[in-house]
């Protein structure tokens, strides 16, 4: 199990390759990567991600350990960045390895749903016109948790 909270960029391909190589007996490996998009309207200049340093690592470790146990994963990885990110930069990734594909997919979706609504990160969008606004939590992200 690997949980990293960091400001620096990470190399998605290298992380994915190392993760898969580390659990070759697993059969099924799923990864998810979140990328900073342009805002839907009015060009996004940057995304600023604030977090709660004392709590973040613990919260991610708890969520990841829950997924490991529930789906009997061979391994799991979570990387989440904070600080200032520009469009096209990768915000975070998760990876899961299991004997069968259904478990690997479900565990990755579970991790994403919990990260979205239970890990202490807050996103702020900085637009071209200089305005800045906190991203609001979505109802559907909260509802997604009821699946688990």
């Amino acid at each position: 199990m690997h949980v990293k909270v960091q400001e620096e960029r990470f190399e998605f391909g290298r992380e994915a390759e190392a993760f898969a190589a580390g659990c070759a007996g697993a059969g099924a490996v799923v990864t998810f990567t979140g990328v900073v998009r342009d805002a839907d309207a009015g060009g996004l200049v940057a995304m600023e991600i604030e977090h709660y340093p004392g709590m973040t690592q613990k919260a991610l470790e708890k969520i990841t350990a829950d997924a490991m146990a529930r789906w009997s994963l061979a391994d799991a990885l979570v990387i989440h960045r904070h600080g200032r990110l520009e469009p096209g930069e990768q915000i975070m990734m998760v990876a899961t390895a299991a004997r069968h594909r259904v478990a690997a997919f479900e565990a990755a979706e579970f991790l994403m749903d919990y990260l979205k609504s239970r890990a202490p990160f807050w996103k702020k969008e900085i637009l071209e016109n200089g305005s800045a606004s906190w991203v609001e939590a979505k109802e559907i992200d909260e509802e997604a948790l009821t699946r688990w």
Partner: protein, 82 residues
Amino acid sequence: MMDVVYFAWVRERIGLPREKVESTAATVSELVAELSVREERYAAAFADLSALRVALDQELSDFDASLEGVREVAFFPPMTGG
């Protein structure tokens, strides 16, 4: 004496990230009530509790929870990670 910390727009509205608070509040709700009467910026930040989340000693909790033995209270909006 406990640490009270704020994140995202709660931090911006109150105007500081962290402060020490002397309080005899037994629950989170009582602490919110004490802070809200201090100054308008607190009242503004705590106006709608349904838009807020609270963590006690870095674990998610709720507004009815007891503050007994708690050293750090955090207030913030719903999380938007991932």
